[in-house]
Symmetry: C2
Subunit: 352 residues, 2 copies
């Protein structure tokens, strides 16, 4: 390992992060009045019951994410002593033939970013509770689902569950999320398929049959299908898919954390663009940004230790935690279909 | 071990449970119309937005608790194979001199009642979401705090954290609870101490000094102190105390689970009496009953395996999980001061 490796790696990590950071700086502009506003000074005033300005929220989330990065970065070397002592470790097959091949690499270090992430989000939750209680329920259920998966992932690393538990428990873990989902359950039908449902203002036979399971919006001339409960089932399956998707590409140094980092940056970029261009769903995207910023922060902190030559392995703990985090932002940010676009490599691997 | 031991143990377990069960049967009366009501029949009808009748809720919680009991009872022998394989086990010092002394006893089996409990409550949460959304936030934050403690407890059993983490993390885990607390932050001042605060309708010097930290209600003539933020701090400390309180008396077969079982039954009895006699805070006590019934169910399932001669140890996992559960019902059920009465042996040991 040569010293300039670190510089190259830092540069590589900066590439996916550059676009969201640029947009963030563009959105926030001059941060000083908002920072002053937190301490009761400056021109930005807070009113109880009214959410603070977007810029102020973004700045606070960035700050929490930075603390998350530093915390993970510093804690991983400390905690790896504990997992190594317990024998939760593996051999790195990618280092065969080198002098590092026989060294035990501590496993399941995903517990550190996971725990730091939970702590970060708990502080965001406190912020929500004091300024913007309308999103408190979403934030709670998001944390609950992620915490449940973190627990499941860590116990899987330690005890190695059989497959039936691994499929059953994520489904249960996603239930709180679905209970709190209050968004639309409708989907827009692609234009060429609309004529299958409606023809000259009346339902076709296929549309009539389909009408027994879902609601075809006859006013929209077949353009909108309200899936109702089926949409919730789809979202539950999305959660199970996401938790396993990160695990699909696993086993190479830095691959789990690396792909999560890139997907996280992509989601962040999507949210920031939506906030800039679209007033309507701003709150949902801000919520997603809150979660994603902390997530990207802790992932980056982990990546530094997990990159080749890895000094720690992330384990199922990290894969489950990361997957559930993406499912949570997709569902509660109301962009669960867009989310799947970011998962194309994993979807392809899954379908193969 | 003789076969009549099982019978004696079952009888011993039935004693603390008898009073709550009697009160439950008294409250519910004839269950048939309510059970029929769940399936859309019978004379009991549900209206959307209106909470279902108390009897119907109680019956549903009893059913969930029974499933929790059966699930824990069946799963513990299966899961103990996994923890034993990983070497998470200990020697039982209470069996020295017997033929069982050298046998490894699997540790950290509190993970089973914990996970079953979370699943039970998730289903209760789904029930809440569909019938009584006003308590959804409470239920989510309760589950979040308990899940966080379960995760912390299990990772402590596996990795053996130093003390500083064990004090810091329960504090963070209790934050979501405090954020969602919307009850009173006032306390009633005992009669002999009221004259210290107010004298002939005006504040005394002591009362005036105290008024800088808390709010003295001058209309109530010193009878009521509004502690505000201090009350939240007290509740946060209660959570930390409870999580460690069960651990104070630990180390003898069945002691952790046994004391939790008895405290659980006592809390249940308190709630049931309040529901019978007092209309005002019925919803909070029902919420507490929901949590406590599932908790008593899974604890009883565990106790069967943990009673002398124990075939499993419960570990810190169970102690933390049980303690946080009590803190949660105390805080969200708004009887945090009464709760401490049930913890008198632990408080004495703590102060000693």
């Amino acid at each position: 390992m040569r010293p300039w490796h670190d510089g190259v790696n830092a540069l590589a990590a900066a590439i996916p992060l550059s676009a969201p950071v640029y947009l963030l700086m563009d959105l926030v502009g001059n941060p000083i009045p908002f920072v002053l506003g937190w301490f009761g000074g400056g021109s930005v005033r807070f009113t109880k019951g009214v959410p603070p300005p977007v810029e102020s929220q973004l700045l606070a989330y960035v700050l929490v994410a930075m603390l998350g990065y530093v915390g993970t970065r510093k804690l991983v070397p400390k905690i790896k002593v504990y997992t190594l002592r317990r024998g939760i470790s593996g051999k790195d097959l990618g280092k065969r033939g080198t002098s590092l091949a026989d060294k035990d690499v501590p496993e399941a270090l995903g517990i550190v970013p996971g725990a730091v992430f939970l702590i970060c989000l708990t502080f965001c939750l406190v912020g929500y509770a004091t300024t913007n209680p309308s999103k408190l329920l979403d934030c709670n259920s998001a944390l609950l689902s992620i915490c449940f998966m973190l627990f499941l992932g860590f116990s899987d690393d330690v005890l190695e569950w059989p497959w039936r538990y691994k499929l059953l428990l994520p489904t249960v873990a996603s239930l709180p999320l679905l209970c709190c989902y209050d968004g639309s359950t409708s989907i827009v039908v692609p234009i060429p398929m609309r004529s299958w449902l409606m023809n000259e203002g009346s339902l076709t036979t296929f549309g009539w049959l389909l009408g027994h399971i879902v609601t075809v919006d006859q006013n929209a001339n077949g353009a909108i299908l309200n899936l109702g409960m089926l949409y919730l089932v789809y979202m539950g399956m999305l959660a199970v898919f996401c938790t396993n998707a990160i695990n699909i590409y696993a086993g190479i140094n830095g691959l789990e954390a690396g792909q999560s980092f890139i997907i996280g940056c992509a989601v962040l970029l999507h949210n920031l663009i939506e906030i800039r261009d679209n007033e309507a769903y701003r709150e949902n995207h801000l919520f997603s940004i809150m979660i994603m910023l902390s997530f990207v922060g802790v992932t980056l902190g982990l990546l530094g230790h997990n990159w080749y030559p890895a000094s720690v392995f992330v384990g199922d703990t990290y894969c489950y935690f990361a997957g559930m985090t993406f499912a949570v932002v997709g569902i509660l940010g109301h962009f669960s279909k867009t989310l799947l676009l970011f998962f194309i490599p994993q979807v392809l691997n899954f379908l193969w």
